[in-house]
């Protein structure tokens, strides 16, 4: 049993391991991560922005003790930026610098055909791994001890790139015409995240396990805040989490994410807050609300929200 297998021995071990590196996982998350490891399958993580999708991949990398390789997707991302590229400049430079050497190699050959014949013996030098610039996907395959590959916001990439990902996700190999097929030395653990700005293809979904992370329950979010913000009192945590949960029910443009809850908690701790009060909330609203319109809507109901949060926390 390898070291990794011990880390994935049971669901509980996985959950505790993730907790040790600062990620509070729900049972569902722990179950899916455990399953993904044992099936060797990529995980497609969906959910609203800021619920910790990317964080999960980072935590998994720390937990497994392997490097995290991240590929941020965007429109127009293509193979040469995601997989590999030839170092064309270097190739050309070398051919120029080695001109004399090449002259010497073909010295003595009389005809053109013979010279080329001779050169052919060295043919693949310029298309060898030394001239290959590995991009994230190739890098992830080449990591000897495995890696966590995070394909972030895959919905932002084009359909074509999505199709291209399929080969890597199902076989963990890529083909480079000049070199051949490169197989993963050890399979990377792949996370794909999506905010559903675009409907992903069936084919991609089929190849992945699917995990939907929604905003955490109050109890869980409290636990997250307590772990991530040392020195915060339990009472304040209760109040602020209750407040945030009410805000999420409001009709606003951008719901406050978990990371913003944490930011707010940190702010309150720095301000030495013992308990929520209206003025302090008003002054710090901008830590978790990022649109003027949202702030206005929330401010209107500030009194009721704060009162409710205080009541609920007791």
């Amino acid at each position: 049993m390898s070291a990794l297998d011990t880390k994935f021995a049971t669901v509980e071990v996985v959950r505790r391991g993730l907790k040790d590196v600062g990620y509070i996982a729900t049972t569902q998350i722990a179950h899916t991560v455990y399953l993904a490891y044992h099936l060797g399958k990529p995980v497609l993580v969906e959910g609203p922005a800021g619920v910790g999708k990317t964080e999960l991949a980072k935590a998994a990398a720390v937990f497994m003790g392997v490097p995290l390789i991240r590929l941020q997707c965007y429109e127009g991302l293509d193979e040469s930026k995601a997989l590999y590229e030839w170092k064309y400049g270097k190739q050309l430079l070398y051919t120029q610098l080695l001109k004399d050497k090449l002259d010497r190699v073909i010295e003595g050959e009389t005809g053109l055909a013979e010279s080329i014949e001779k050169l052919h013996q060295y043919d693949d030098i310029f298309f060898s791994p030394q001239f290959l610039e590995p991009r994230p996907l190739l890098k992830a395959l080449q990591e000897k001890d495995g890696a966590v590959l995070l394909v972030d916001e895959v919905d932002k990439s084009d359909d074509e790139f999505e199709a291209f990902l399929l080969e890597i996700l199902s076989d963990f190999q890529v083909s480079i015409p000049e070199i051949g097929t490169i197989e993963a030395t050890s399979k990377p653990f792949v996370f794909l995240t999506s905010n559903s700005t675009r409907e992903l293809g069936e084919a991609l979904r089929r190849r992945c396990l699917h995990l939907y992370i929604s905003f955490p329950e109050q109890a869980l979010e409290r636990e997250i805040v307590m772990t991530r913000v040392p020195g915060i009192s339990e009472r304040l945590t209760r109040q602020l989490v209750s407040f945030i949960h009410q805000v999420r029910k409001l009709d606003i443009k951008k719901l406050p994410s978990v990371s913003e809850t944490i930011d707010w908690a940190k702010t309150l701790v720095i301000l030495h807050a013992e308990t929520l009060d209206k003025d302090m909330v008003r002054d710090t609203l901008n830590t978790f609300l990022k649109a003027q319109e949202d702030i206005r809507v929330t401010e209107e109901k500030l009194y009721a929200l704060t009162e409710h949060a205080l009541r609920e926390a007791n």
Binding site: Q96, A163, C208
Partner: protein, 449 residues
């Protein structure tokens, strides 16, 4: 293969979750890992490997709870206490024996194997409920039980009367159970089979015969169709975009650096972006079919970036911005009622609309554009203005006419189709989804050339 899982996947499929063979294999391995002991673990595992989107997850939740509830045909509350009932008579029927001995597990087994024998999974509609209940009773041997009850009643005596009462109430209870079982099986396997049935049906049915209620489903099918077709043909465009090293240019530039090619230059091919102009008739003569035309228009708008959409009746208006800013149902309602857009829904006027198009929007006619006209060409005997269509045809790459009528009707009555025909690159009948699919396929194929 694991039977329970197989049945579960069948149930999921019938509910509209698309599950591939590979996913089935994943689920199988997942179930091996989890076992059937821990319900929550099993659920999360299967959910991760089978349900791959939010709507599917919702269906999964319902299916899972229904399906695995079926497994619990235990009968703790089922068998009445038969203490104090001296076995005055040993029943002959197996069911009587089970009742008399209070064998809960035996009953569950009997019920399940009766279900298997009655092939209850093949139930298709609620009209078959009675039939399947009868079959189940027969397989369970209810007849034998009834006979035993009658025999007992004939014997008489207090003990026998008590026993008859107990057996009767157990029998009624069992019948209730069977009814529930059949109903749940119906929910699980059949209510959703309609889904399966109708997808094939919808694809082949005439669009005018389809119901407004199916709109959402049809939209889904169309979306999938368009996306599928687009996926199939878009990879070529991708290959073209990736540039190769432009050796000539690089070497030319290298002269500046004394022959050292520091500065690399790249060839990049131009991508032939689809440019589509759709002109759609929304008049009353095609009202049955127009919503599907609009659906297709809307779906195409979602996947093809450069598309201009026009609708016309008496006059012609540009609706491309409408599709971009409004969700589908709203956009459709607006188009059909004419609210918010300057369209006159009077007499259909093909000629006038073509003139409108020429006068206002002829800028979108380029050598790369494909013009699609959706309509029946029924012009109420007005001037057809074929010369405008000819102008359009000459100035675009190709002109496609999709007509909901069959070709034999073209040119009959006030149809001007025959006059328009010479200027169309292609004219097709388009009255079912399948025909439509072919046209879209053609469209995307030629576009990526």
């Amino acid at each position: 293969m694991d039977r329970i899982l197989q049945n579960f996947i069948t149930a999921l499929r019938r509910s509209g979750v698309r599950i591939s063979v590979a996913e089935t294999m994943d689920a199988l391995r997942a179930a091996e890992l989890s076992g059937y002991g821990d319900r929550l673990l099993l659920k999360d595992f299967l959910s991760a490997s089978l349900a791959k989107s939010m709507p599917e997850k919702e269906i999964f939740e319902v299916c899972f709870s229904r399906f695995f509830a079926l497994d619990y045909i235990t009968g703790e509350d089922f068998l009445l206490e038969n203490e104090g009932l001296p076995p005055t008579l040993q029943g002959e029927a197996p069911l009587t024996q089970i009742f008399m001995s209070g064998d809960v597990g035996g009953l569950a087994m009997a019920l399940r194997s009766a279900g298997e024998r009655a092939d209850i999974r093949s139930i298709q509609s609620w009209t078959q409920k009675g039939l399947f209940m009868q079959r189940l009773f027969q397989e369970l041997g209810l007849e034998g039980l009834n006979r035993d009850i009658r025999t007992l009643a004939e014997i008489g005596g207090q003990d026998a009367v008590n026993q008859v009462k107990a057996l009767e109430s157990m029998r009624d209870n069992l019948m209730e159970r069977v009814r529930n079982l059949v109903e749940r099986q119906l929910e699980l396997y059949a209510a959703q089979r309609q889904y399966e049935l109708s997808e094939g049906y919808i694809r082949n049915a005439r669009l005018s015969a389809l119901d407004e209620r199916d709109l959402a489903r049809i939209h889904k099918i169309i979306q999938r169709m368009v996306k599928h077709l687009k996926d199939r043909y878009s990879r070529r465009a991708k290959a073209a975009r990736r540039g190769h090293l432009d050796f000539r240019k690089t070497f030319r530039k290298s002269i500046t650096y004394g022959g050292l090619p520091f500065d690399t230059h790249w060839k990049s091919k131009k991508i032939d972006r689809p440019e589509i102009v759709v002109i759609c008739d929304v008049s009353r003569s095609v009202s049955n079919i127009v919503r599907f035309f609009l659906l297709i228009l809307y779906s195409l708008n979602e996947v093809i970036s450069r598309i201009r959409s026009f609708v016309f009746c008496t006059n012609l208006v540009d609706v491309s911005p409408l599709f971009e800013t409004h969700p589908l149902p709203e956009a459709l309602a607006m188009l059909r009622s004419g609210t918010g857009i300057p369209i006159l829904l009077g007499r259909t006027d093909y000629g006038g609309s073509l003139l409108d198009f020429r006068n206002q929007y002829s800028d979108c006619l380029t050598k790369k554009a494909t013009v699609i006209i959706l309509g029946d060409a029924r012009n109420n005997y007005a001037e057809p203005h074929t010369e405008v269509l000819r102008m359009i045809s000459e100035r675009c790459k190709r002109l496609i006419w999709l007509n909901p009528e069959t070709p034999s009707l073209w040119g009959s009555g006030d149809s001007e189709m025959k006059k328009y025909l010479p200027y169309c690159s292609i004219a097709r009948e388009c009255s079912t989804l399948r025909q439509l699919e072919r046209v879209v396929e053609y469209l995307l194929r030629v576009h990526n050339r």
